[in-house]
């Protein structure tokens, strides 16, 4: 066993790559839940984004257009959830689960032409001045753009929720939709927008997987990442910065244990494999001690006549 053979620069890079999909999907779902909607279809929206992004970037040759396509795809499929739950007042849990199944099936159908195709490669932040900063230059400042965009997105969501009027309205809708309605806010419209934002973010997370982390299309390739993203929101107790913490913790421990295995650390593999989940549970236990801040109207059906 030789821990020094793990290169911290490469390790950090792969942790960032492993964490970014769940971070993107998680921050999107956070906004949805802040608006009082529980969308369990993250997995379905992610996989839809993965294939939309993949197909668009293969067809156009542009990874950036691919990401736009992924956001569009994710938002579009989330809109079906929005219409069903907000206008037709269907049960959010059941509809969310159905959305996951729908997304998995739709993406498999759309993806048939694309198995084995290679997507155009994604540009990395490549500024010589930054790279030359010793150590942290290569460790923190030379990743693909999406890593930074995802972090900026979290900052933007935090700022929006905390400091803007729009954020306040969104939170009001999530805390007490009847009161927000009485004040004249369009509860349903705001929730639809939040749902579509969540869909776009999940789509982006999926596309990160199919364009950058694995660069390929395989059916069902999200393999449960959507459920991790859902858990992240609870883990973060609905606070944006903690989503970063959770995503990097989960991604970090996952990647770290793979690397420890590769260098032959003498710890039984079963323990290493369960650490990401174990650490998550432990943190959840500690967090649950503090007051939780689930939006009060989360998952409740709203109709103006109630």
């Amino acid at each position: 066993m030789d821990l020094s053979s793990i290169n911290p620069v490469v390790l950090i890079a792969s942790i960032m790559v492993a964490s970014t999909p769940i971070l993107l999907a998680g921050i999107g779902e956070l906004v949805v839940e802040k608006a009082g909607v529980l969308n369990l279809g993250v997995e379905g929206m992610m996989i839809t984004g993965a294939i939309f992004g993949f197909a668009v970037s293969v067809e156009t040759g542009s990874p950036w257009l691919g990401l736009l396509g992924a956001m569009f795809g994710g938002a579009l499929i989330s809109l079906t959830f929005g219409i069903l739950t907000q206008y037709l007042l269907s049960n959010q849990v059941a509809t969310g689960l159905a959305l996951t199944m729908f997304g998995l099936g739709l993406s498999a159908l759309m993806g048939q032409r694309y198995t084995g195709t290679k997507p155009p490669s994604f540009p990395k932040l490549d500024i010589q001045v930054l790279k030359d900063i010793p150590y942290i230059g290569r460790m923190l400042l030379s990743h693909d753009y999406m890593v930074y965009i995802s972090l900026l997105l979290v900052a933007a969501v935090w700022y929006f929720l905390k400091f803007t009027k729009g954020g306040l309205i969104l939170r009001a809708v999530g805390e007490n939709h009847a009161a927000a309605h009485a004040l004249g806010y369009k509860v349903v419209r705001i929730r639809i927008l939040a749902i579509m934002f969540g869909g776009a973010c999940a789509g982006l997370g999926g596309a990160y997987l199919s364009l950058i982390r694995v660069p390929q299309w395989t059916e069902g390739m999200t393999a449960g990442a959507g459920w991790i993203a859902l858990a992240l929101v609870v883990f973060a107790s609905w606070r944006p910065w903690r989503v970063i913490l959770g995503a990097y913790l989960f991604g970090g421990v996952t990647v770290l244990q793979l690397n420890l295995q590769a260098v032959g650390v003498n710890i039984p593999v079963a323990y290493l494999s369960m650490t990401p989940y174990l650490v998550t549970i432990i943190v959840l236990v500690f967090i649950s001690g503090a007051r939780t801040s689930a939006p009060a109207s989360l998952g409740r059906v709203f109709h103006a006549s109630h």
Partner: protein, 357 residues
């Protein structure tokens, strides 16, 4: 979607069958899969086998499948549903379906089951598997010859005998032609998770591996190998399109002939519970075309191995072989018996790391 559809048809058929018994009905043959049929690996190959069945016996049978069925209670539910809907022969195509298959088989004595890669049988449960380890011997040999860093990365799924056998067979073959070779094994504890498989491949490459083998189902590792300019192999399916430069060869599972043989046996009433374990010889395991990156003499060597394993003149496990702890497993010239192979739970000497249990 497909899951929903098959469940709905299943339910509809169950209702239909309760009312009437059809004369001269087509034989219903069902499959349950661990991954999606589009995984381009393990499940994809089983589904090719199912399609071969349709093509050969389509006028006498009707096939159906349910994909991405988790091992455990879910499998039992899906199997029960299939049996209730009048399916008379069910192929359960993952190791973890073993106990669910046995449990459901007890409840439906007139339904026949075929469980892949397991070892529990009953009057109405057969088992079948392929000697994938013979394929591992061939690609292990190629890997041993092709590695420049003498480090081969191995992405393993679960510590079950089939996977352990593969690691041992590949290691012995590589070691025989490259005494300096080292194997680095990462257990990912999943059959299918492209993201995690890719992370594992990256970790192995970072530790100096320049040839990667895998015992997981997706082509993710091959894609990473292509990106990083190293070598890898197709697993279960040829996977050439995922790494035109990286792929050296592949182990291809060929289930079609077996499926056709067993369905015919049911049709003419000769089906009996049995254990099948076929290798390269009968064609259940195929070695994919060699990449032209492999030098001619290595190709010839690999071909000779393949031929020897096929006609039985060679055995993947021929002594002297010690276990990892140094105790003797096989004396010089001795070959492994099937019972030991089927329950293999130890590394051979020279493989690093501790085998999880």
């Amino acid at each position: 979607m497909r899951l929903m559809k098959s469940l709905l048809t299943g339910a509809a058929l169950a209702v239909g069958l309760a009312g009437a018994v059809f004369a001269q009905e087509k034989l219903k043959v069902g499959f349950i899969y661990i991954g999606p049929v589009g995984d381009l690996g393990w499940t994809y190959q089983h589904d090719l086998g199912r399609k071969a069945l349709d093509a050969a016996l389509g006028d006498k049978i009707e096939t159906s499948y349910v994909e991405s069925v988790p091992e455990g209670a879910d499998a039992e539910r899906v199997l029960t549903q299939m049996a209730l809907s009048g399916t008379k022969l069910i192929f359960t195509t993952s190791f973890g379906y073993m106990d669910p298959t046995i449990n459901v088989a007890k409840k439906f004595p007139d339904v026949k089951f075929e469980h892949a890669t397991g070892y529990k049988r009953a009057k109405n449960v057969s088992t079948y598997s392929a000697r994938f380890y013979q394929g591992r011997t061939v690609i292990g040999y190629i890997a041993g010859k092709m590695t420049k860093t003498n480090t081969i990365g191995y992405i393993a799924s679960f510590p079950i005998p089939e996977v352990v056998r593969g690691i041992n067979a590949a290691y012995l073959a590589a070691k025989a032609v490259n005494p300096k070779v080292k194997f680095k094994v990462i257990w990912v504890f999943t059959w299918f998770d492209p993201g995690k498989e890719a992370d594992a491949a990256n970790a192995l490459i970072e530790q100096g591996a320049d040839v990667i083998m895998q015992h997981t189902d997706s082509p993710a590792a091959l894609t990473i190998a292509e990106e990083k300019g190293i070598y890898a192999f197709g697993q279960a399916s040829d996977m050439l399109q995922f790494g035109p430069d990286a792929r050296l060869s592949s182990i291809i599972d060929n289930w079609g002939p077996y499926y056709i043989e067993r369905v015919k046996a049911v049709l003419d009433g000769t089906w009996k519970s049995k254990a099948t374990w076929d290798g390269i010889g009968p064609g259940m395991v195929k070695i994919g075309a060699f990449s032209d990156k492999i030098p001619a003499d290595v190709q010839a060597g690999a071909k000779a191995l393949e031929k020897g394993l096929a006609d039985g003149s060679l055995n993947s496990f021929t002594g002297p072989i010690n276990k990892q702890d140094g105790s003797v497993w096989l004396k010089a010239g001795e070959v492994a018996d099937d019972a030991t192979l089927a329950s293999m739970n130890f590394y051979v000497q020279g493989v690093d790391g501790k085998l999880p249990n």
